[in-house]
Amino acid sequence: MYSIEALLLDKKGQAKACPTFALSDLRPDIYLALSIPLRISLWIYSMAVNVASCIKYSGKDAILRVVTLGERGSIHMKKACWVVVALLVISCFNSCAVIGRSKDFRPFDESALKKVTPGKTTAHEVMELFGAPSEVVKLSNGNAYVYARSLSKATGLWLVILTFANFDIQHDRIVFFINKDDVVSHYGSSFKTETASYEMPF
């Protein structure tokens, strides 16, 4: 079990501090030339820990040096340090996403509207088909029976100090206008609950 430490050397052969990689099953004392992917990885990693000073030395003379655990006593300390940093970074990005669905339900069937004929269907038949109305509005020339239900979809996202919340509420409604003879004179319907959606507020 070995660790590998990436050291970027300048042209004079002096080592510049760079991040440590935890790798295993690598032979000690092997010098590996930096390949392009490794160089990119090193660059990204270096950016992550803000060691911009290392980047200017990542030229042709830069090499990757493999060291054993015993070569530096402080290697465990560094590992622990990186673990702490990694945990802090992860905890900074902790977040929460929530989706919710709220339904105000009434069991009326929209297909039953086919059975309603203005001028024929009575108020009693409407209630047999659709049940008790959500609301009855008294009008000067009769009444209006209102059947309503709604669906609300909520989306929430918490990102440390940022919170985004979105609610989309849509309704299904049927209105029957009942004349003084207790017969349906007109009716109107709109079914929009299926259009409720989960989305972000931006």
């Binding site: 501090a17 900074c92 000067s140 609610f167 309704h171 049927i174 109107g188 709109s190 507020p201």
Partner: protein, 143 residues
């Protein structure tokens, strides 16, 4: 290695500071949409000609029905809410008497609405349409 350790130390300090600040600063953005989009009335809708049944066929069931002493009003409405809240504070209440705190919030509720008024015969007497959601958010807020 000293340079390396120092950089790690600063990174840890920065992250810890970020954690502390995250408990004191918050930004919230809300949006609530209640109802479907309200379309403008078609050109064919005219007072004295359009019937209650035609309006019901085009717009569906209204949000609200009102009896206006001899007249009938159908009201269709969509409500659109936008809200923002910023809070910056240092909770020192347990240590000092004063706890500096700054809260800023902004709410704007806009309504798209159309109202139709009918005579007792079921003929359109008057109508009015307003689409507030098409107005700019920022300018409308400070208007």
């Amino acid at each position: 290695m000293r340079c390396h350790s120092r950089k790690v130390m600063w990174l840890v300090i920065a992250l810890l500071a970020g954690h502390v600040i995250s408990g004191c600063v918050s930004l919230r953005v809300d949006k609530i949409n209640d109802g479907a989009d309200i379309l403008p009335p078609p050109e064919g809708f005219m007072a004295g000609k359009t019937s209650l049944q035609e309006v019901l066929l085009y717009y569906g069931a209204p949000t609200e029905i009102l009896d206006m002493q001899g007249y009938l009003a159908l009201h269709y409405q969509r409500t659109f809410y936008r809200g923002g809240h910023i809070s910056i504070g240092v909770p020192l209440g347990d240590v000092f008497r004063a706890s500096p705190n700054l809260d800023a919030m902004a709410d704007l509720v806009r309504h798209d609405a159309i109202v139709f008024i009918f005579t007792t015969d079921g003929l359109l007497k008057d109508m009015s349409y307003e689409k507030s959601t098409s107005r700019p958010l920022w300018d409308t807020y400070w208007e």
